[in-house]
């Protein structure tokens, strides 16, 4: 096989995979603009039923509420989580000694605990202290994640110790060094962490399903799931709801793709 045929094969496989990867999403956007009947008939061109689907959706679910809730929970979780985890990641690397390294080992082990194992005790704890249906209840279990701590720890590894020493001689306190020197130089790590955390928070489904029992505190993924529970499904309306739920993370993905990729793989490089 010559180089050329090999490259040609690569193109065929890659383009085919790319089409399969993108098709369901394009189909979702097209279906959102068509009536249910047209979706069933297999219409693959955009239609004019977008507004009608939108009105049906509004009549069916309080999606403004759902969007507001999803944005509120996700933004608060992203901000608080990144502050806590970047402090910890920096601390584990810059002040490392054998005790902190051992503690890091324990934190890594906690990554293995499946969420369902913690779900029942967390639910009972949170209902005992009235945290059901609250933002704090949503964010608390996923504020401190081993994944983010690892990400910031490996980026702190590339931060030169000489800079920290020099800043100390200049009389900066330890916390000031973190805020004034580490945070500004690690912008790309922060961008990666923001992308990954926001997407995880937005897409979280099992935990809000457990604690968000009031319909007024439901998230977008919960609402689109509600839409499928009826006997008859309006596919146009359903796909519009799915599209609205996907849009924020898709936009974030397309703009921050490089950071997102670095965020996923960056914590692993150790």
């Amino acid at each position: 096989m010559t180089d050329k045929t090999r490259t040609l094969c690569s193109y065929i496989v890659l383009i085919l995979t790319a089409v399969i990867s993108v098709f369901p999403l394009i189909w979702m956007v097209i279906a959102a603009t068509n009536s249910s009947v047209d979706v069933i008939a297999g219409k693959l061109t955009p239609g004019f039923k977008f507004i009608e689907n939108y009105q049906n959706l509004l009549a069916n679910q309080d999606i403004y509420r759902g969007l507001f809730n999803s944005f509120k929970y996700s933004i608060v979780q992203t901000v608080v989580s990144i502050v806590i985890c970047s402090l910890a990641g920096y601390g584990f690397e810059v002040y490392h000694d054998k005790y902190k390294d051992a503690l890091m080992g324990v934190i890594l082990m906690s990554m293995m605990i499946p969420f369902v194992s913690m779900m029942v005790p967390l639910f009972r704890m949170f209902s005992a202290v009235n945290l059901l249906n609250t933002t704090i209840g949503f964010i608390l279990p996923s504020l401190s994640t081993p994944f983010l701590i690892m990400l910031f720890r490996s980026s702190a590894r590339s931060f030169p110790m000489e800079m920290i020493e020099a800043a100390r001689i200049d009389g900066l306190g330890e916390f000031q060094i973190f805020v004034k020197m580490f945070v500004p130089t690690m912008k790309s790590t922060y961008a990666a962490a923001i992308t990954v955390t926001f997407m995880n928070a937005w897409n979280n489904y099992i935990w809000p399903k457990v604690i968000m029992q009031d319909s007024s505190s439901q998230t977008m993924p919960m609402m689109i799931s509600n839409l499928t529970s009826g006997y008859f499904t309006d596919y146009g309306m359903l796909m519009l709801a799915v599209f609205i739920t996907t849009l924020p993370t898709a936009v974030l993905f397309l703009f921050m793709q490089k950071n997102f990729r670095e965020g996923l793989t960056g914590s692993v490089k150790g």
């Binding site: 096989m1 090999r6 490259t7 690569s10 496989v13 890659l14 790319a18 990867s21 369901p24 999403l25 189909w27 979706v39 069933i40 008939a41 297999g42 806590i84 402090l87 910890a88 601390g91 584990f92 002040y95 000694d97 902190k100 503690l103 906690s110 293995m112 605990i113 499946p114 969420f115 369902v116 913690m118 779900m119 029942v120 005790p121 009972r124 504020l143 401190s144 081993p146 330890e174 973190f178 489904y205 099992i206 399903k209 993924p221 689109i224 799931s225 499928t228 359903l238 796909m239 799915v242 739920t245 996907t246 993370t249 974030l252 993905f253 397309l254 990729r261 996923l264 793989t265 692993v268």
Partner: protein, 297 residues
């Protein structure tokens, strides 16, 4: 003497401040992961709820052995694990090594397209696939119009096809994700290694098995552990794609535990025992994979 003492004082203070950086994160992990896991373990030995809670010894674990639905859900998760994870990881490896070719054009667009499914929420893609594979969905329409099927087939109403639809959906959602890990691993391998192998007359298959796979071994191990962990915890797809059906034929362990906990009378002791079993399986499988991964050297 004096300076030495003040130096130690400074170090001790720095060390103390170092701990302050860790406190919020560590306290949260202890309170939100470790303590609940221990609580689940303790609860798994009790029966009854509220004031009626009693020590039940191993009775919950004995009950698992007789619970046909939970045994079915274990079988389902391992079916997904054994079929889906290898297909996905091999596919991701092949795609990554193809994309790593420096002569390839439009690499960025192809990579973005293949990675794009990761931008969708698990609930969203589960609903998209449910709609595509519905009896009146697009897949049936295409299959009947090109003559593969005589009449629309209700994929989600048959035990095997429902599971296969979940596997197809999982492969669609996660292949690009794993590919990104391999791509970043491949970037650490100098491309001249490949050039040299090719000049020495190695076939593409040999290059793939003798260079790519050994050099990517740590990354492959990592993705295998992550996928195993994720598959044993599947929830969103089971709830939204098949709703566990037909007749629990595609239900996952997490889905069943959720139903047992929050639908009907809560059985905290019993569900804790089931959830602890998942923790045990995840730990054992991760341990095995790490052992196997070490041995290949």
């Amino acid at each position: 003497m004096n300076s030495k003492r003040s130096g130690m004082g400074l170090n001790a203070r720095r060390n103390f401040e170092g701990w302050l950086f860790l406190v919020p994160a560590v306290v949260l992990i202890v309170c939100m992961s470790l303590i609940p896991a221990v609580m689940a373990f303790v609860t798994s030995f009790t029966t009854g709820t509220g004031a009626n809670t009693q020590w039940g010894g191993l009775s919950n674990y004995m009950r698992i052995l007789k619970d046909k639905v939970f045994l079915q859900s274990i079988k389902n998760c391992f079916f997904y694990l054994i079929i889906q994870v290898p297909i996905m990881l091999v596919l991701a490896l092949i795609l990554a090594s193809m994309l790593n070719n420096p002569k390839l054009k439009c690499k960025g667009i192809l990579r973005t397209c293949i990675f794009l499914p990761c931008a969708t929420s698990l609930v969203a893609y589960a609903i998209i696939f449910r709609t595509l594979f519905a009896t009146d969905g697009l897949i049936n329409l295409v299959l009947t119009s090109i003559g593969i099927l005589n009449a629309p087939y209700n994929f989600l109403a048959h035990p095997l096809s429902a599971k296969i639809v979940i596997i197809i959906a999982l492969i669609w959602r996660w292949t690009g994700y794993n590919m990104v890990f391999y791509l970043s691993g491949l970037q650490n391998i100098d491309y001249s290694v490949y050039e040299a192998a090719r000049i020495d007359g190695a076939s593409p298959f040999q290059i793939f098995t003798k260079i790519t796979i050994p050099l990517l071994k740590p990354t492959i191990l990592l993705t295998a552990i992550m996928s195993t962990n994720g598959t044993l915890q599947l929830f969103d797809e089971s709830v939204n794609l098949t709703n566990g059906g037909p007749a629990n034929a595609s239900i996952t362990m997490s889905h069943y535990i959720y139903n047992q906990t929050f639908q009907g009378v809560p059985k905290f002791g019993y569900t804790s025992a089931m959830s602890f079993l998942i923790l045990f399986m995840v730990a054992v499988l991760a341990f095995i994979q790490m052992k196997v991964g070490d041995k290949r050297d």
